[in-house]
């Protein structure tokens, strides 16, 4: 995207302003492209000045384009506003910057203004977008539609409204969804969740492949850091993201036993060797092969998969799933040479590989330096799990097994041992700290305990006792916690004399893993035996050799290894293509602010988690079958509904797939500019008071109490329900109440001002409602009826003649009746007087307006003065309309106080005249 502010198209009659002062990029900048901004821009442009019109929304038109009709003539709002939109958007002297915000304005000594501004990232290339709306149709995320005042929802990829100018799509992104942000591989959890929600499982699976190819393994055995950062966790409980993924992966694999693709078309001649077929190596191979490189993986074991195959027990990860995941990689043409241990890198280089990736993992075990460690029956957890997974199951029936350690890698052998012994086995986990210090996931410990594993806490083995070289018992000593050590955890200290001997048949040591780097030269490793690699590019000191996974990071989760594999692939590919490695990897936004999500989450209904169905405990103790049962389709979609779309856009990429001009670009960044302008007009408009502020009137509690702006949308040609219907049940209302002065002329909300347009726009609502619903009665509750403009009092008389009832009286309180209708308690100030109650089935609150305080924060060159009521202060409204306290900075339209469209148009003319005279004074000949 280019920001074309260098050259503004100028018609041949532009005034020649003096150029001996600071050169101007534009003669005038107008901030805000509602009626006032557009009118001022067109007027200035007509006089020959070069105009920059800045609008923070994606379309010009302001609030007026959203109106139904306009009083008192009942012209449709489009008829009034679209000519203005068209005239500025095609004006040769007017440059429009939509979706852009001014950051600061400072007045300079020569009377011109220095302006910093930026165009926000829309993630759409406006130059290429044709406004076809396909992205909007396919987008999987809905949010409340602010252009319909939240009456309905819209998609996150959207064109603001049908008459938008320019008609371009934008994509809302609040930030990266916490799940995606937290995932080491940035797997777009929010994306595949939204696709599952939409029933597009194949697309969901394919989206996952973009960040991690081993979908099935992750769906079963990932520790799911995403779930720990889920915003729904702050409410009813985290979304079971991995459960949704399991459904998605299982469904896809059931339908697609083989991948849907083969090797990519464009094959390159470059050859890459990858050492190790664990998650890091497989992932790197996948992304490199997708670029067309020739990839060979060397695997020392008999079968590929690394830890996925040898370490993770089948009750967590069935080996068939690993096989299917590996097909995702091999389908691309990746060769895996199993049973082939690489011991010499130079040999490998000599075989003609252009690059080597080492991803040998960390499967070597920490020993325990105590007496009896070599006894038969004492083994490492990797050794034990290897036997369980790919060797022969040991006989554990009626035996006692002790697992030493408190991490996740202690849980796997312990829980596997239970299953091998089919319940007739005594499994003890011996850990030297307490329960809450255990590094294993809580749910793992709970699961282990449920299955019968005994925890022996605050205890450490001191020696193994054998008979005939075979383990028969262990001596343990009780521990207590002392001062914190360098890791911050309290150091366990043995309690002298607390030793006791426990008879056991097997001891499994799960006290840590070491990188499997024994075959590599010392100069490639650090003191811990980890391979030395640049943390950004994963390139080792030998530029042709890269390293990724546990052998670089030390033992960690599968998803970390996958992330490393993809990262290594990215930089290897660049190196082999001769491209710079000095580029960032994934383009990730800041994490979305959960507090903002929760604040805006009023519209989220409560959704309890879908319970995870499990095998019975009895079955769990006997079988290596997965204990977690896969969600049904209904369950998965229901759980997916619980996602709060924290990032707004979920990056499901569906829009990208349908966008013919390929204009969607998630790497787009805001573009900042500094410019110089001769004068500034603030036409920043007004805000709308939150009707919920008047609590007793029930807005937000009763869905048939709506605001005036919402009523306008119900009556507009582009109306959301295609009719005037009650939001609660879609019924046509029969008795509509319109309450004036809600939050205007009202000290309880600190707004003593009259809103100036409420009486008129409410009578418009009443007349239009009577037209749309001939049988409906309409009653307007008023203090005074202020119909003061040209033709306005006649409109009032016409309203009365049409049968609209006017009640002079303040409504104090609204209650909902058992039939769903609303009871208005009010004071009838005419006639009999007194407190009255009346029933209506739709209530419209004609809300007051608020100053838009943006103007004040934009001006950084001192203080832009506000009037008593908080609007921009006109210093001399009688002689110098539109002039503010800052010489050369003017305010047009409702920025100085809410007014109707005719008054706004006139006031904008005044602002333009003032700005023109200022330009002539400071810049003229």
């Amino acid at each position: 995207m280019t920001l074309n502010t260098d050259t503004c198209p100028v018609d041949r009659n532009v005034i020649n302003l003096k150029l001996d002062r600071n050169p101007l990029d534009y003669d005038v900048m107008i901030v805000g492209a509602g009626v006032a901004g557009m009118e001022t821009a067109a007027s200035m442009g007509d006089m020959g000045y070069r105009v920059l019109l800045v609008e923070k929304n994606a379309s010009i038109g302001g609030r007026a384009i959203l109106l139904s009709k306009v009083f008192p003539t009942l012209d449709c709002a489009s008829c009034i506003v679209t000519p203005k939109m068209a005239s500025v958007s095609h004006h040769p002297n007017v440059q429009i910057m939509t979706y852009s915000e001014v950051d600061g304005i400072v007045r300079k000594a020569d009377g011109s203004f220095a302006v910093d501004l930026h165009r926000k990232a829309a993630y759409v290339d406006f130059d290429a977008c044709t406004g076809c709306g396909k992205c909007e149709q396919i987008c999987t995320v809905t949010v409340p539609d602010e252009f319909n005042y939240d009456l309905v929802t819209r998609r996150v990829a959207h064109i603001p409204f049908p008459q938008a100018v320019p008609k371009k799509a934008i994509i809302d992104r609040r930030g990266e969804a916490p799940c995606t942000f937290t995932c080491p591989a940035n797997v777009k959890a929010s994306g595949y969740i939204s696709l599952v929600r939409a029933g597009r499982y194949r697309e969901a699976f394919n989206l996952h492949l973009e960040n991690a190819p081993l979908v099935g393994s992750l769906a079963r055995a990932c520790y799911a850091p995403c779930e720990s950062d889920c915003t729904r966790g702050e409410k009813e409980g985290t979304v079971h993201i991995r459960g949704i993924k399991r459904f998605m992966a299982d469904r896809y694999y059931a339908e697609h036993p083989e991948p849907e693709y083969g090797p990519v078309e464009n094959q390159l001649g470059t050859r890459i060797a990858i050492i190790g077929s664990g998650p890091a190596g497989l992932s790197a191979a996948f992304y490199l092969a997708r670029e067309g490189h020739q990839v060979t993986i060397f695997e020392a074991e008999k079968e590929a998969g690394g830890m996925l195959r040898t370490a993770i027990p089948a009750y967590r990860l069935p080996k068939g799933v690993v096989d299917r995941d590996i097909k995702n990689v091999t389908a691309l043409g990746v060769k895996i040479r199993t049973g082939h241990r690489i011991t010499s890198l130079p040999d490998l280089k000599q075989q003609g590989f252009n690059a080597i990736l080492i991803s040998t993992g960390a499967a070597d075990e920490h020993g325990l330096d105590i007496e009896g460690r070599d006894l038969d029956g004492v083994m490492g957890c990797m050794q034990f799990l290897h036997e369980v997974n790919v060797g022969e199951m040991p006989d554990l029936e009626n035996k006692t097994v002790m697992v030493i350690g408190g991490g996740n890698s202690a849980m796997d052998p312990a829980r596997a041992a239970i299953r091998i012994g089919a319940g007739k086995v005594h499994v003890i986990i011996n850990y030297r700290r307490g329960r809450k210090e255990m590094p294993a996931h809580d749910w793992e410990v709970v699961g282990a305990e449920e299955e019968g594993v005994e925890l022996m806490l605050m205890s450490a083995p001191t020696r193994f006792i054998g008979r005939d070289g075979k383990l028969v018992a262990v001596e343990c000593i009780s521990m207590e916690l002392g001062e914190p050590d360098e890791s911050g955890r309290r150091r366990p200290m043995p309690i002298e004399g607390s030793e006791k001997v426990i008879p056991i048949d097997m001891a499994i040591l799960s006290i840590g893993l070491l990188p499997s780097t024994a075959h590599f030269p010392a100069e490639m490793k650090n003191s811990k035996g980890l391979l030395i690699a640049d943390p950004q590019t994963l390139q080792t000191p030998d530029p042709d050799i890269f390293a990724s996974g546990d052998c670089v990071t030390a033992p960690t989760m599968m998803i970390n290894a996958i992330a490393q594999g993809r990262r290594a692939a990215f930089y290897i590919d660049r190196r082999l293509k001769g491209e710079s490695l000095n580029v960032p990897f994934d383009c990730v936004l800041e994490k979305a602010d959960k507090n903002v999500v929760l604040e805006e989450a009023d519209h989220f209904v409560e959704r309890q988690p879908v319970p995870q169905r499990m095998l019975s405990l009895e079955e769990r103790r006997k079988t290596f079958e997965c204990y977690e049962q896969v969600m049904t389709e209904a369950e998965a979609r229901q759980e997916a509904q619980r996602c709060m779309n924290c990032g707004e856009c979920a990056q499901c990429m569906e829009c990208v797939s349908v966008c013919a001009p390929q204009c969607i670009d998630f790497t787009q960044k805001p573009i900042s500019r500094s410019i110089n302008v001769g004068t500034v007009v603030m036409s920043t408009g007004y805000g709308i008071l939150d009707p919920a502020t008047k609590q007793l009137l029930g807005y937000g509690r009763f869905s048939d109490v709506i605001s005036g702006p919402q009523m306008d949308r119900l009556l507009a040609p582009t109306r959301p329900y295609n009719g005037v219907l009650r939001p609660s049940d879609g019924k046509e209302p029969e008795s509509i109440a319109i309450i004036l002065c809600v939050g205007s002329r009202d000290r309880t909300v600190c707004n003593p001002l009259c809103c100036r347009i409420g009486c008129m726009y409410s009578m418009k609502h009443a007349q239009l409602a009577m037209g749309a619903l001939p049988m409906a009665e309409v009653t307007i509750y008023t203090i005074d009826v202020r119909a003061f403009g040209k033709g306005y009092d006649e409109f009032y008389e016409q309203s009365k003649a049409m049968g609209i009832q006017f009640v002079k009286g303040k409504v104090a309180r609204i209650e909902q009746l058992s039939n769903g209708n609303l009871a208005l308690h009010y004071e009838d100030q005419l006639g009999e007087g007194g407190k009255r109650t009346r029933e209506h089935d739709l209530v419209v609150l004609t809300v007051g307006f608020l100053p838009n305080t943006d103007a004040f924060s934009l001006y950084k060159g001192g203080e832009l003065a506000a009037g008593n009521s908080g609007y921009v202060c006109e210093v001399d409204p009688i002689s110098e309309p539109a002039r503010t306290n800052v010489d050369g900075l003017f305010a047009a339209g409702t920025a100085i106080g809410v007014m109707d469209i005719p008054d706004t148009v006139l006031h904008s003319g005044a602002a333009a005249a003032q700005a023109a005279v200022y330009l002539e004074r400071t810049r003229g000949r």
Partner: protein
């Protein structure tokens, strides 16, 4: 016809305004059968930017040489679609507008079949007309960088200062002896308590300092000739001497006339019944206690809406139905001034404000709030039973039913009744004859469109501002004056203006110069010229408005109006009656 036309027809839903009552799809399909029609389709909003872009692309791709837009009134969007045609490389005068909204859908709600049939016929007529169009070029006129401002009230003076500030020369013509208008007599003005004479003096000082402004007082505009961008205005000074001014535009800020109550209206004519202006002059006269006829004033009754918001009746055959907008604020502001006077003079004065609705809109609400805090008692009356003012015991009595007290009839003994009289349109036949600006039914000058073109009039180059176009307070008057300044600037700073080429054309072969056309022309846009050795009529392009008065009077049938040629009109009639004729 030389070649087959390629015409595009675009029917607008107008977001339901048309499509709710006319089956637009059916119209579009029917039009495909018309000769020359290449494209016929519908849009939700023809005027939307996206639809325009689509049409531009199609005009270019399909190489169209005619365009028919069937949508709202051309008053709204004629220029929108002309500009669109230009962007598409199509001559804007080969575009024909059909009004399917005001002339079809809105007129025939509830008869979709009939309305659809009419819509087809109207659009067919548009196509038939379009087929006979040919490219035209606008008439370009050089503009004069000078402006005439009529009326030297605050609005006129303020407009002149900005016009001069933009580099234009300004003449102000004021009928009275002094500039300043009503503000110079207004004293203290709400809501910001500005002193009228001071505001005027300030403006006058700026005008005197400006070399580009010439102010004529005791002067009247008596004649105007020429056209937009280049008028000649005749100004009579002191009733004797004429000066001729060549200006590019005229800004009319002639202000209002205060309502003069009828005899007996709210006691008007009785001693002690005064207008708000009179009362304020009494209050601000200064010396000593507030008295009337020598008697200290103890009670004052203010009656609002005098001469405003009237309903037609026996006593009021020509009612002012409008709200005068400024009087509530001005009267409520007077309440605070009266209270201030009480505090300063020590004289206790009760004040009663008899109102219908207090219309202190927007920021002005503070004035009303202050008035109540300052002791003004507000009583609300119903126009069905307005207050009556009677003389009683040497004082005045106001009898009023207060609707807020259960319609209880109150009798208020007062020393003064102050009538808050509204604004009425200024009567000035001389000026109206010269300028011919259309008036609204209230008698105020009428703008073209209150939201789209609020300071422009049907007379090109003549702008209106201030209370000449309707009641306004001073700030609003000045804002509108500056809005007129901007439109004037847009016209004159460019140096030229394009005029419509849709004007009369004379077939010199047929013309025998009989003078009938010149007699009929309201603009004097015909002159007699020699064509070879024959005298014929010739149209003065810059003066002709194309209204067509000359066409029917020509005995030789020698005159046609571009865009409304006889053959086009005949073709339209034939096309719209096509089915009738066929049957």
């Amino acid at each position: 016809m030389a070649h087959k036309r390629r015409i595009g027809v675009y029917i607008c839903h107008c977001g339901g305004n048309i499509s709710d009552h006319v089956n637009v799809k059916e119209v579009a399909e029917a039009l495909l059968d018309e000769p020359g029609v290449e494209i016929s389709r519908t849009h939700m909003f023809n005027c939307s930017d996206a639809s325009q872009q689509e049409m531009v692309d199609e005009i270019k791709e399909e190489n169209l040489d005619g365009l028919v837009i069937a949508s709202c009134s051309p008053k709204l969007h004629l220029f929108t679609f002309r500009a669109m045609a230009e962007r598409a490389g199509l001559n804007p005068y080969q575009y024909v507008h059909v009004n399917l909204r005001e002339q079809c859908s809105w007129a025939h709600t509830g008869d979709k079949v009939g309305a659809t049939e009419k819509g087809i016929n109207l659009t067919r007529a548009g196509v038939a007309k379009c087929a006979l169009t040919h490219p035209l070029t606008a008439i370009r006129i050089e503009t004069q960088p000078r402006v005439l401002v009529v009326g030297a009230g605050v609005a006129g003076m303020r407009a002149a200062i900005s016009l001069a500030g933009m580099g234009l020369s300004v003449f102000i013509v004021e009928r009275g002896n002094e500039p300043g208008g009503w503000a110079s007599q207004a004293g203290r003005m709400g809501p910001d308590d500005r002193y009228g004479p001071e505001v005027v003096a300030n403006l006058l000082a700026q005008i005197r300092n400006h070399e580009n402004i010439i102010l004529y007082t005791s002067a009247e505009l008596t004649a105007k000739s020429g056209h937009i961008g280049d008028f000649t205005a005749t100004v009579r000074l002191r009733g004797e001497e004429d000066v001729s001014l060549n200006v590019g535009a005229i800004v009319v800020t002639t202000g209002f006339t205060p309502y003069e109550p009828e005899d007996g209206e709210y006691g008007w004519g009785k001693p002690g019944v005064v207008t708000l202006k009179d009362f304020r002059q009494m209050l601000e006269a200064g010396d000593g206690p507030l008295t009337y006829n020598g008697i200290p004033v103890r009670d004052v009754g203010f009656i609002y809406c005098v001469g405003s918001r009237q309903t037609k009746g026996d006593t009021c055959p020509e009612p002012n139905t409008y709200c005068s907008r400024f009087c509530c604020m001005a009267t409520a502001f007077s309440a605070s001034l009266l209270h201030e006077f009480e505090k300063e003079s020590g004289q206790t004065i009760n004040q009663y404000h008899l109102y219908r609705d207090v219309r202190t809109y927007g920021h002005l609400e503070a004035v009303y709030t202050n008035a109540r805090a300052d002791g003004a008692l507000f009583l609300r009356w119903d126009p069905k039973e307005p207050p009556r003012v009677e003389q009683s015991n040497g004082r005045l009595a106001i009898k009023v039913k207060d609707t807020l007290l259960g319609d209880e009839e109150l009798e208020l003994g007062v020393d003064l009744v102050v009538l808050a009289t509204g604004m009425t349109a200024r009567k000035n036949d001389t000026l109206n004859n010269v300028l011919k600006i259309p008036e609204s039914k209230d008698g105020f000058y009428n703008e073209i469109h209150i939201k789209l073109r609020p300071v422009e009039t049907a007379i090109d180059g003549v702008f209106i501002a201030g209370t000449a176009q309707g009641p306004k307070n001073l700030a609003e008057s000045v804002a509108s004056a500056l809005a007129a300044v901007v439109k004037t600037g847009g016209l004159l700073k460019k140096g030229y203006v394009n005029l419509e080429p849709l004007i009369a054309e004379i077939d010199t072969d047929k013309c025998v110069w009989c003078n009938e056309c010149l007699k009929a022309c309201p603009y004097g846009a015909i002159e007699r010229v020699l064509c070879g050795d024959k005298e014929v009529a010739m149209v003065i392009d810059s003066s002709c408005k194309g209204e067509g008065a000359c066409v029917p009077v020509c005995p030789q049938d020698a005159i046609d109006i571009e865009g409304f040629r006889d053959n086009q009109i005949m073709a339209m009639i034939d096309a719209s009656l096509k089915e009738l004729v066929a049957a």
